[in-house]
């Protein structure tokens, strides 16, 4: 028998749409990806239909993995990554979530630096309107021997309406003593003076907002093989929100 569906008491599901999770339960086993030593792996995940993606990724010695996520569709969409880095491995995540209406969108990551000298970088940008909820839960765990770990988390959310919600929880669990772990987190609204400046030059309010939001998510998809498609899809979704 599969375990019971999670409840809000489970930290990793605390902000989830529990009804949608229960309906999807039991989930299939997570997709398992093993990147061999010195290998390179890249994956683009476009979540546009209200599904739960779970990936377990083990990155071998000196290997790299880059994941780009565009989380936009359905009432409830979740992308969950469980990443283990071996010696000198590198992990990059660039994620954009764009939600309106009553959508709940989540990116949940656990990045474990199991061995020395690995690097990880996570950039997450959320744009939320209506009563949408956007969540990033990101745990970086550094094992006792994983010296010279270098990890970065940059998390920002933009609320287009006061009724939208952003949750951001970068979390560090460090057992080594020679590591660099940076994390930054900001939740804000579009700068009204910037919007007025654009409008005073002739740009209509919706277009002005779109231009500023485009700038907000710019750069996240850099280096992605599908950069153009991801940017275009994101812009289209932004256009629907403003």
């Amino acid at each position: 028998m599969s375990p019971a569906a999670p409840t809000r008491r489970d930290e990793a599901w605390r902000y989830s749409d529990i009804v949608a999770v229960a309906a999807a339960w039991p989930l299939p086993a997570p997709e398992s990806i093993i990147v061999p030593a010195s290998g390179n792996f890249a994956r683009t995940i476009v979540q546009d239909s209200g599904t739960i993606h779970q990936l377990d990724i083990a990155i071998g010695k000196g290997a790299t993995a880059a994941i780009h996520v565009l989380n936009t569709g359905g009432e409830y969409g979740r992308v969950e990554l469980n990443v283990t880095l071996h010696q000198g491995a590198d992990f990059k995540l660039g994620a954009v979530q764009i939600g309106g209406g009553s959508q709940t969108l989540e990116v949940v990551t656990t990045v474990t630096h199991a061995e020395p000298g690995a690097t990880s970088s996570q950039i997450v940008r959320s744009v939320l309107a209506g009563t949408a909820t956007g969540t990033y839960l990101g745990k970086v765990a550094v094992a006792r021997d994983a010296q010279q770990t270098d990890s970065v988390q940059s998390v920002k959310a933009m609320l287009l309406d006061r009724s939208a919600t952003a949750n951001a929880k970068p979390e560090l669990e460090i057992y080594a003593d020679d590591v660099k772990c940076a994390h930054g987190c900001a939740i804000g609204e579009l700068d009204p003076m910037g919007l007025f400046y654009l409008q005073a030059r002739g740009i209509a309010p919706a277009e002005a907002k779109k231009l500023m939001l485009q700038a907000f998510v710019a750069g996240v998809f850099e280096d992605a093989a599908d950069e153009e498609m991801l940017t275009e899809t994101a812009l289209k979704k932004l256009g629907e929100l403003v």
């Binding site: 910037g194 007025f196 002739g202 740009i203 309010p205 277009e207 485009q214 700038a215 710019a218 750069g219």
Partner: protein, 247 residues
């Protein structure tokens, strides 16, 4: 071209403009001078439609149109340009992209065909060159990391590209060194000193007026125009100060 009649406006609950009347004809350059807190910047913001600046009484017509009924972007398309006292930084949006979108939005509003990338760059290069700004700066995000003087110069480049009928320039001279002041002054003359255009220069000091000679000088004090004269009034103000004038 611009007819302001008995204009009253509040910022929040505070009345700032208290019955301002002013008329600008095509071909004229007007300077508005006045002490701090007189309502000079408020006038610029009210005319360009900044949210939070509420008109409580009076009217403004621009080329026969009720200006106050238009949204800020519609006012721009109708030919009004506000040169900001503090140009805003917009991270992530390049000057070139911003200006092309702005210009084409205005053209679309007026029923004109958009400029292609190439056509736009030609205009942008001309205007930037005339104001001594290199193209690399035009490719950078709007005003981000620009010095005070570069921001003001950028406002003039924007004005050159957009080519408005009426420019309201809010302390465009502040933060400029002497050379930049001359460049900006030359820019204003070149772009706006034309029979079908008008300028409202908002300034504290006489020095910009050495380069851009106004046809009329108005003193704004306590939310209304208290005196009007020719270019010589600015010199008088510079010599005697506003207090002396009020006495």
């Amino acid at each position: 071209m611009l007819q302001i009649t008995n204009l009253h406006a509040n910022v929040g609950d505070k009345p700032i403009l208290k019955g301002l009347t002013l008329s600008l004809n095509a071909g004229e350059i007007h300077a508005i001078m006045g002490p701090n807190g007189a309502g000079k910047s408020t006038l610029g913001y009210v005319l360009s439609g900044r949210p939070g600046y509420e008109v409580t009484e009076g009217s403004v017509t621009f080329n026969g149109q009720d200006l106050l009924a238009l949204e800020p972007h519609e006012r721009a398309a109708a030919g009004l340009f506000l040169g900001f006292q503090y140009p805003v930084e917009i991270p992530g949006v390049s000057n070139v992209q911003f200006l092309r979108e702005a210009l084409n939005a205005q053209r679309k509003y007026r029923g004109e065909a958009p400029l292609s990338g190439g056509e736009f760059l030609k205009v942008a290069r001309e205007q930037a060159g005339a104001l001594g700004m290199d193209m690399d700066m035009l490719k950078r995000p709007v005003n981000v990391g620009f010095s005070g003087g570069e921001k003001k110069r950028n406002e003039m480049v924007q004005m050159g590209i957009i080519d408005p009928a009426l420019a309201i320039l809010d302390e465009t001279d502040s933060g400029l060194d002497i050379d930049a002041l001359r460049t900006v002054g030359d820019g204003i003359n070149r772009i706006m000193r034309k029979p079908d255009k008008a300028v409202l220069l908002i300034t504290h000091y006489q020095r910009l007026l050495d380069y851009v000679k106004p046809d009329f000088v108005h003193v704004l004090d306590g939310g209304r125009i208290t005196r009007t004269g020719g270019a010589e009034l600015a010199l008088e103000l510079e010599r005697d100060g506003y207090k002396e004038l009020a006495a």
